[in-house]
């Protein structure tokens, strides 16, 4: 019994979506992803700065010091929670803080906040990955994308849509509840028209959007949801 060669799987290019806000802080990482790992990287406007490596997985990148103070934890918690609504799996790459040139790198002072933040993250099922540099982070992102691809979760449609109408359709899909950019892209490429999505069964939405059953059920219900006339009247007067 021969197993499919893993080398062929890893030599195929992986697709990664990057939020435009990641660029300023991540030039080195992006270059590395493209050149060293031959990844297809597409920059788009996600609702916050993160990476999408598959149909179901988002990756945030944070410095260690981000996890160490209470102010940052609140912000991190909000972001993680919103990602959990859009993705089945959420990863956090914790990167060592960059030391200024000429300054000796000093180890992070582990605060109690840091430890309890880590404990809480692990408890919630967030996957943590550890990195010492932008280069290592790029490697981890590429590895995650490859792993997801091997599990059949890689983004298989083109990472962009062309033409005004398709762009508008993509924006409409993004305003569906619990739909990530990856789901919206899949829907853009796998359905004939917007009406095709709206009139599809739960199974068809699940398949075409490359999403979980519960997510497809929510979309199906949303599309048939009857707005309350009271809400419409109230919105009119406001």
């Amino acid at each position: 019994q021969t197993l499919p060669a893993t080398s062929s799987a890893s030599s195929t290019s992986v697709c990664i979506l990057v939020d435009s806000r990641c660029i300023s802080s991540g030039v080195e990482l992006m270059t590395c992803l493209r050149q060293k790992h031959a990844a297809t990287v597409h920059v788009c406007s996600l609702d916050n700065s993160y990476f999408i490596v598959s149909n179901r997985m988002a990756v945030e990148r944070h410095s260690q010091s981000d996890l160490a103070t209470p102010q940052n934890r609140k912000r991190l918690a909000d972001r993680v929670k919103s990602l959990q609504g859009l993705f089945e799996r959420v990863c956090l790459i914790v990167e060592k803080d960059r030391s200024k040139t000429g300054e000796a790198s000093r180890p992070l002072q582990r605060t109690r906040y840091y430890d309890s933040t880590l404990a809480a993250l692990v408890r919630t099922g967030i996957r943590l990955l550890w990195s010492d540099s932008a280069e290592e982070s790029a490697g981890l992102l590429a590895d995650l994308a490859h792993l997801e691809q091997r599990k059949g979760q890689g983004i298989a449609v083109p990472l962009e849509v062309k033409g005004q109408h398709r762009e508008q359709a993509l924006q409409l899909y993004l305003s569906l509840p619990s739909v990530s950019y990856a789901h919206a892209l899949n829907m853009s490429h796998n359905f004939r028209s917007i009406a095709h999505v709206i009139n599809s069964s739960i199974e068809a939405i699940q398949k075409g959007g490359c999403m979980s059953r519960t997510r497809a059920e929510e979309i199906y219900r949303f599309l048939r949801y009857s707005c309350d006339s009271f809400f419409v009247k109230a919105a009119k007067t406001s």
Binding site: R123, W130, H165, Q168, H189, I198, F222
Partner: protein, 217 residues
Amino acid sequence: METKPFAVVSAVPPYGHVICSEKWRNSSLVQSLKGGGVKILFENELGVADFNLPNKSSILYVSECDIIAGNSYKRKLVRYRNASSSFQELVLVEKTRLSEQYFQAVQTFVVFDLGLSLLPVSGQSEASQFISQIVHGEGRDNPFRRRSSCRLFDPLVLTLIQQVPGVGKVKALALLQNFSSIHQLCNATPTKLEAIVGQVGAQQIHSFFHKHTTAGT
């Protein structure tokens, strides 16, 4: 093959306690745990795990020596994973100047190959800090826990309809008054839409929903 039946203890320690494998009895880790006010219960039959914590997680400790000495720790990790206890399984890895160079390889094995959670520590004192945080933090509210929010769909429906080109809030509300759902709106005939948004608007809305979006058509 292991012939002796494993009498692995899988009890959850009471609040404020840690169940600890006997081999850690004289370690500095346990000393500083005690210093931090954590009560220790020693146990011989803990299986592969080193510690069981009151929040139903267990910890396997991979030391600098384990990593540098080579491959036997990997077997231990596999056994740990395969024990598939009802505990959440964490792996603490000593990341020191000596073991640093192997860290990424260890991480790949633990996280990617075995799917376990890994946390680096610089040594036993950091490990004990982390463990006592878990023990004392038990029962505290988890800021990352997502509560299933019952979102109201109405405002979201309104926002979505405004994604249709040429439809602002006023038209969207007028449409919603006549077609209460997106499904109904999408399947309305241009004639029916015309009465609300005029002929041009009706054509625009109808063709937006029905125009092909897939490439090549």
